[in-house]
């Protein structure tokens, strides 16, 4: 019951007025970012990280705000899926299948409300899962030595392409770029690598600068390229008429989706897309012929929404306990933790208990805030969708520059950020995914260090790398993670594509 005490302390942190205010702000901005087509949660958090720095927030407040952004983005993704048939982010893809048909039948308000309730339940289930599982896993993390960590990082890289990855070669290229950038700086033994005598490069590339550059600045360039674009035309949403019976009908779907999503989220590499996908397919299987999936079945909205929100909380488990992110967005959050001088892992649960539990409590509170934001106030987001991006562009630019400058107070970092932005723009033009770059950058140095440590401990005997049962297990999983996508991947992808093509021409 130690956990309960910690959680209470966490509520004490999260319920402080300023933390609550920033949770609300984060939830609002997150929902908005999630709703804007094309801006996924990883980009959203990356764009808002500088905001935390420019406001000079305390670590726990910064984290509370950004986890709320993360949770909010997961909620927001469904809005454009349902109204426009354009998924706000990848995990919201499955929500299009039944959400859009519902909207077409004039039941947009019901679809939005159902999906908000399902998101809420999914998140709630998974946050409870997180509360139960994380401390256990954190204790278990003590058994991780250098060899086990090395195998774990290998597993993270092996599963990186993930089951939903489109082009494995491009993923590998992206991860290699990340690993290459990670070698810059003074290495573990004091040797300088690719620093060219530039003092600013001695400590290597700052993750936050790379992330804000790659995601936020490149996003701006895309906006500019599209001439900042006009807004979407105004949309009308009908008046909400949702009965208790209808809510009760989607409850089982939401619970199932939440549990499945959580499991998918905990597994490294799988992430929210898989969560929403299995959430949807399972519903289809369970309900069977009685359903009318693809034609606007509420359960087809509830399942995947609960799934992707569940997965987003689930993905926090490996990030918080082992320091290995389970998804792109958690990778971005991990970089934030590191730059706040908080090291994820078992120690964080004791030494930074107030922060960890504050964040977990904030997830729970944020969930309620999001439910409120997303049912009565959904109209605001619908209206905001029609604000032309040209008004958002200067704000995002300003926040990015001020935020990065306030971290280190050197103009060098600003040039560096812009350089990363240009790099990110080029990579995206080449359709090379950015998340593996970040993972390579984040995990590369850790992986190298653990290999060196293992060698130091064993006095150069490579056998140490598979000396324990845990290490062997991880190697086996890594092997499976590398091979399975080639067998199951195409199968899954085909099944994910099929219903979409049937239901909706020309999504995203």
């Amino acid at each position: 019951m130690e956990t309960l005490g910690y959680l209470m302390d966490g509520f004490g942190v999260a319920l402080q007025p300023h933390n609550l205010m920033f949770a609300l702000l984060g939830a609002f901005l997150g929902t908005l970012i999630g709703a804007l087509p094309g801006l996924g949660p990883a980009n959203g958090v990356a764009i808002l990280i500088p905001l935390a720095f420019s406001l000079g927030l305390a670590p726990e407040t910064a984290l509370i705000m950004l986890t709320s952004v993360y949770a909010g983005a997961m909620y927001g993704g469904r809005i454009s899926s349902i109204l426009l048939n354009i998924p706000g982010d990848e995990p919201a893809m499955m929500t299009c299948l039944d959400g859009y048909p519902m909207a077409q039948k004039g039941k947009a308000a019901e679809a939005l409300a159902i999906s908000a309730i399902a998101s809420f339940i999914g998140s709630l289930v998974a946050t409870v899962g997180l509360i139960l599982l994380a401390p256990l896993l954190a204790k278990f993390a003590l058994t991780f030595g250098p060899a086990e960590y090395f195998a774990l990082f290998l597993l993270a890289f092996a599963t990186l392409g993930g089951i939903t990855g489109k082009n494995p070669i491009k993923t590998v290229v992206a991860a290699c770029i990340g690993l290459m950038i990670a070698t810059v700086g003074i290495d573990n033994t004091g040797v300088q690598r690719y620093t060219f005598g530039v003092l600013e490069l001695f400590e290597g590339v700052d993750f936050i600068i790379a992330i804000v550059g790659l995601f936020a600045i490149s996003e701006l360039m895309f906006f500019i390229e599209e001439r900042a674009g006009g807004g979407k035309e105004k949309m009308k949403v009908n008046k909400l008429t949702l009965t208790w019976r209808e809510i009760r009908e989607i409850l089982p779907s939401s619970l199932r989706g939440g549990v499945l999503g959580f499991i998918a989220g905990v597994l490294p590499g799988a992430g929210a897309s898989l969560g929403s996908f299995i959430g949807y397919t399972l519903e289809k299987k369970v309900v069977g012929k009685k359903g009318y999936f693809g034609k606007g079945d509420p359960r087809g909205v509830a399942g995947p929404e609960a799934g992707n929100n569940g997965a987003s909380s689930g993905a926090l488990v490996p990030m918080l306990t082992l320091g290995v992110p389970g998804s792109g967005t958690t990778a971005v959050l991990l970089a934030l933790l590191i730059s706040l001088n908080i090291t994820p892992g078992p120690l964080m649960f004791t030494q930074n208990a107030d922060i960890v539990w504050g964040v977990i409590a904030a997830l729970l509170i944020g969930n309620f805030l999001l439910l409120i934001l997303n049912i009565p106030l959904v109209g605001i987001f619908v209206k905001l969708l029609s604000v032309p991006p040209m008004f958002l562009l200067p704000i995002v630019t300003m926040i990015a520059f001020v935020g990065i400058y306030s971290i280190s107070n050197t103009t060098f970092d600003l040039y560096f950020m812009v350089a990363f932005g240009v790099g990110g723009y080029i990579l995206r033009k080449l359709e090379i995914p950015l998340v593996p770059v970040i993972l390579g950058l984040l995990l590369g140095p850790e992986m190298e260090k653990n290999l060196r440590h293992a060698m130091d401990i064993s006095d150069g005997d490579w056998m140490i790398l598979w000396d324990s049962g845990l290490a062997i297990g991880l190697w086996v999983f890594a092997g499976l993670g590398l091979i399975l996508p080639y067998i199951i991947g195409p199968l899954l992808r085909r099944r994910m594509q099929n219903p979409i093509e049937e239901g909706t021409p020309g999504s995203d």
Binding site: L142, I186, L340, N341, L347, H453
Partner: protein
């Protein structure tokens, strides 16, 4: 490396200075006006950041500064970026303090701030220290420091150390200082595993993956209280105060090794003598104040105080010692 037990170091200077600061009527021409900046050469949350913020607060409470002390984080090259910035761009700014610690002198000694030396800045004072410790997991077979050193004498690779600084950094050097004092030969062979911070290193030691921990006393307190960690020796002159007085020093065990990680400040080189006097006196005032004593107590900082000339000499001596040691073990040529 010597240091004066600071409790004995009570200067009479402090009282007139406090008066001078309050009434500003004496001949001391310098008074800070407007904004005073404190550069923390790291990201928010680290030791230097703490030094700037806590000292800044105490200075405001004591009215040593007219307004706020603004903490500016300038990370990069382990403090090198801030050092270069102070030397080249702020050389005559008498409203600028920069947080420093043993990590700064270590890097200066090992030439990790290319082209920069210790006499390019003004070392104004140190306000406390965190002492080095060597510790093992509670269930370790190693009994005391001599036991550990005997194993190292037989085989330098028989005990592996984990610490939070880079190879050649302060945590690594503490092991070597102790080993040298215990006449262990072949110092370069001693295995040191560097982690991102003391906490990470501690988990590896507690988890039984690495044999011993080298770090500072404040890093280890959590695990000492939980009983998972056994401290073999603290590298201080005398036993530490309070609950920590149970821990034996290395000296008591016949190994003459000291490892204070001091916390203090440097300022730009070309400031007026009046300004220099003002700030060194300010360091004394801070150190004597109840406010600062509370900060030290809450954060596990141990007594350690020096200002101006004495501190300058201490820094230069420490740099010479570290340079010699680093050469002995082949870290630098």
């Amino acid at each position: 490396m010597t240091l004066k037990p600071s409790l004995k170091y009570v200067t009479l200077l402090a009282l007139p200075l406090a008066a001078a600061a309050t009434f500003s009527s004496t001949a001391a021409a310098f008074e800070p006006e407007g904004k005073v900046e404190c550069i923390a050469p790291s990201d928010p949350g680290g030791g230097w950041d703490f030094t700037c913020r806590s000292v800044g607060n105490v200075m405001q409470e004591l009215d040593l500064v007219p307004g706020n002390v603004q903490t500016i984080n300038m990370a990069g090259a382990g403090g090198g970026v801030a050092y270069a910035h102070t030397v080249s761009k702020r050389a005559s700014d008498d409203h600028l303090l920069v947080a420093a610690s043993t990590a700064t002198t270590t890097r200066l000694a090992q030439g990790q701030f290319p082209g920069l030396t210790a006499d390019q800045v003004n070392w104004v004072g140190a306000l406390g220290a965190d002492y080095g410790i060597i510790a093992v997991a509670d269930d370790s077979e190693i009994e005391d420091l001599n036991d550990l050193m005997d194993s190292l004498k037989e085989d330098p690779r028989s005990v592996k150390f984990a610490g939070g600084s880079a190879k050649g950094g302060w945590d690594h050097l503490k092991v070597l200082i102790a080993a040298q004092a215990a006449d262990v030969e072949n110092l370069p062979r001693i295995a040191y595993l560097s982690y991102n911070n003391g906490g990470e290193a501690l988990t590896q030691v507690i988890g039984g993956h690495v044999d011993a921990f080298t770090g500072d006393i404040t890093e280890a307190q959590g695990f000492m209280e939980s009983g998972d960690l056994r401290v073999l020796a603290v590298l201080s002159e005398e036993r530490l105060p309070g609950d920590l007085s149970d821990i034996p020093t290395a000296r008591e065990q016949g190994i003459d090794a000291l490892g204070p990680n001091w916390r203090g400040f440097y300022m730009p080189a070309d400031i007026s003598e009046e300004a220099e006097t003002y700030w060194t006196d300010a360091m004394d005032t801070i150190y004597q104040s109840e406010e600062w004593k509370n900060v030290m107590k809450q954060n596990g900082l141990m007594p350690f105080h020096m200002t101006a000339g004495e501190f300058e000499d201490f820094v230069h001596n420490q740099i010479d010692d570290i340079e010699q040691l680093s050469k002995d073990i082949g870290l630098i040529q």
